[in-house]
Symmetry: D2
């Protein structure tokens, strides 16, 4: 069986010795680095910034399984404390996750089943390292899909008048299920700034090639503009609509023959692949946010 | 040797029998249709509109070569008159060009040699059916490139104060060389509405994936926005900057590793291919404009 | 509601007047051509060959719905007879299908659910104009998937000893359900020449970029060879394994980082899209076979 | 001005601490690591193998410019000696190159100017960090192209009878010009095993999507097989024709409309981009060869 890994992320103002000191930290502890990658963002504000991801084999660490106690074993805690100490020295922001602590993902949908099926099937196929403890929707349409996969489905309709209340109920569900990531799989509601502040990270799929065609009906906009490629964009949702850091994009070639409906059809294939790639990268702990940009290591 | 072809374009409000009547016209004249394609633009304004392109072998037509007389022979004229009669019946707009009448293309450049080399080399390789009687620039930088290919080079510097005058001089050159198409191969000036009205069709290459990143420094805009694909767009220049009908687009995948300079470098490869495809489609008589969209048959 | 369409295909040795005569046939009957496309295959054997697809609005035809009688109404029969007469004159092979006669598709699978889900979901979303009356498998693994969509599932295990018998039983099922098209959605058995002769057309998805990596374990072959792109190929199954006419292909970029398992994962996304496009083109009556090539109009 | 960099490559059997020890080596010397990347090839023979590339700022090194003495300064030599010592400890194969020691590239051509122009223009634009001291051809066709760029051109015709002798003369030219890399830019001759052993690394562009369509006339093979994508492959030339490690590949979508000549035309655009990317990666010291695979860091 594959051994347990720790995924250590660190980001700091660029300075001499970062690769050596971060890699050396694990080497000196007798731990094997399975994968290491890094990037320096030269144009970051206020100055060049360094990002590193280290995947470390924890076999050398005496560790009871994660299930034994909240937050992992005492030796994991020692490791985390030591890593935090190094980060403090480097002026770095660090974080840790473990391959045996599976993230919990809530999927929010409205009526379109395409992305929902896709995410669940990938999770079942082992492509997305996560649990999906619930699906939330403002319509009942997709209840049978969730049922078919034995995933609890919560229908919370929303109107302009009930929006604040509905969002509070969604937030309560997220807390109750210890959700680590929210995926908007064609959830056709704009989330309030308050919701986004209170919620775990939220990944949205926009069915347009951002920053072109922001807002509503992007395929109709694309048809009217006569573009020769259509696209989709997965991004972190922020309070600025369709302005959050982009995780992944892709496009498909189209010709004058494709009307808006055909663009919608072709777009569905791009949307679900783009969304799945973005969710996978996030779940694998590959993504840093730097201003409006993402670094995907 | 390949025989001479006539390329007949027609567009009309959609109606029964258009394919049959247009194809039948040539069949009844004993002429062979080498290639026929058509499209109905359902969402055109004010109603569905039909577009057809027919390539006809003129072997059956008793015709002296085009060089014998301006505008072709009397039998070409008869054919054109008859075709115009059919178009009138159908409420169609028609046009004709001949494979032995080679279009004359003026290339406008500033300092970047990439697209200029590309267009000239493709023309020499037989990919672009045209002559290139002149290169015009507002800088002397690329004179040696034009010289190397024995293409007359005209340097017409421009300032805000001299812009109107300079444009008049460019127009005079275009007229003098009987230019049918102007290609802006990284010509870093905005052409005035007056120029565009007086000039033959103008194809521009925008180094961004329109409609995203209109205006200046699109690669820097793209970097700041953190997109995962960059692109280029060839479009007909209109008085609305970067808003003309799109002929062709393409993209390349980029990661966080690429800074603005790397985006510029990667973009150059897309720009020149996109521009060349657009120019080729135009020269082959494949392009109709319908509102803000192009139909490329 | 959309009116009923007839899709008329014709292929003939290239000759003067084919577009005009085929289009004129419908025009003279007062029928509107909704879509017309054609292609001349210059290098076909024994000589250039013409292919045309005409989509005709049948509104003008006095026709009871297809359900009224097997094979359609008498006026459809008259139309078909007349069309056949024209084909005879032209030395053409013709065929007709109607938009209200829905094709029946059998899906053959083994254990991998990815393509099965994809095809069924697309059919449900209206992307694939067909019924799916049955799923056949040599394993029971995917029975619950078929059940979830209320599609009858037939499990017919096969061994070297029972292969001939099993194929006969599959053929019997295909006949019994009036199947028009068989889709091998990762069916991990090689079908015998006898089966392929007796069965309706069979579309297979090969998880390699044919003609590279024919045969077994193409992703492992691709990894060993160190290719930088992997692909998938949908083709008509013929008695020459992996040699049938190609309907559709696509690729994805990979790097040295992807091991064989990762190639399998990435490949799944290509496979299902490529297979779906191929099935859709076939069902829309867009595909001609010309030797080892397909013409997709 | 950009400071001078050393590019250090190391590959070793996988073992604990490689990242830490390699990065730590430079850190302990007070040198700044500008870029570090690594990969473990799990399936390498005889066991997992580690590859690392480190780009190090040499500002901290007291160094006279490379031009001062063959092979660089004494302090570079000390650094190299120390690096070699570390490699010995790790059982690693190491190598070093410097950003101020510009590689010399010989381009071999026959008659097709496309890749030659492309490489030279990229070199002039600063995309390819190299000098091009000579172009060698077995035909005189492209002499004027080389002349136009003031690059010495050597025409060495070859026949079956003179092949061995001609190759010796090419090798003499390569030695005489201190060539570090040979690029076959559509050189239509098969190089002998003897030549390849004696020559510096050789990169070839194959106008097919290897391993499909090896050997002659790949576009004609592709047309006959009816593929829906065509491609090109850049690989290191080895004595097994078209079997060398692949550096880069790309494809373009084609339809049934494209005959062999059109495939050739479309292929040219892929070939030159693929070749340029491969040459650039090699010149930037990003490429390791591992069996039949390349690792491009």
């Amino acid at each position: 069986m594959a051994s347990t890994h720790g995924i250590f992320l660190a980001t700091a103002p660029d300075q001499r010795g970062l690769v050596a000191r971060l890699a050396g930290f694990f080497y000196n502890l007798g731990l094997n680095i399975v994968d290491a990658s890094n990037h320096t963002e030269s144009l970051a504000e206020p100055g060049p910034r360094f990002f590193m991801r280290l995947v470390v084999d924890l076999e050398g660490l005496e560790a009871p399984p994660a299930s034994a106690g909240l937050g992992g074993s005492s030796s994991r805690r020692s490791l985390e404390t030591a890593f935090q100490g190094l980060c403090d020295e480097l002026g770095a922001v660090g974080s840790v996750r473990y391959s045996d602590v599976v993230a919990k993902v809530a999927i929010l949908v409205t009526k379109d089943p395409s992305c929902l099926y896709d995410l669940v099937l990938r999770q079942r196929a082992g492509e997305l390292p996560c649990d999906i403890p619930l699906v939330v929707s403002n319509h009942a349409t997709l209840e049978s899909v969730a049922d078919g996969f034995r995933i609890p489905f919560f229908c919370l309709p929303v109107t302009a008048a009930t929006k604040e209340d509905q969002e509070q109920r969604v937030l309560a569900l997220l807390r109750q299920h210890h959700v680590d990531l929210v995926v908007l799989a064609r959830y056709m509601q704009i989330l309030s700034e308050g919701f986004l502040k209170a919620a775990p990270p939220v990944i949205n799929i926009h069915h347009g090639f951002l920053p072109a065609f922001q807002g509503a009906k992007p395929y109709h906009q694309a048809h009217a503009r006569g573009v020769k490629l259509i696209g989709a964009t997965a991004h972190y949702a922020t309070s600025d609509l369709d302005q959050g850091p982009i995780l992944e994009q892709d496009v498909a070639r189209v010709t004058h023959e494709a009307g808006p409906d055909e663009l919608v059809r072709l777009g569905r294939d791009i949307e679900r692949v783009v969304l799945a790639r973005a969710v996978r990268a996030h779940l694998q702990g590959r993504v840093f946010v730097s201003g409006r940009r993402t670094i995907v290591l």
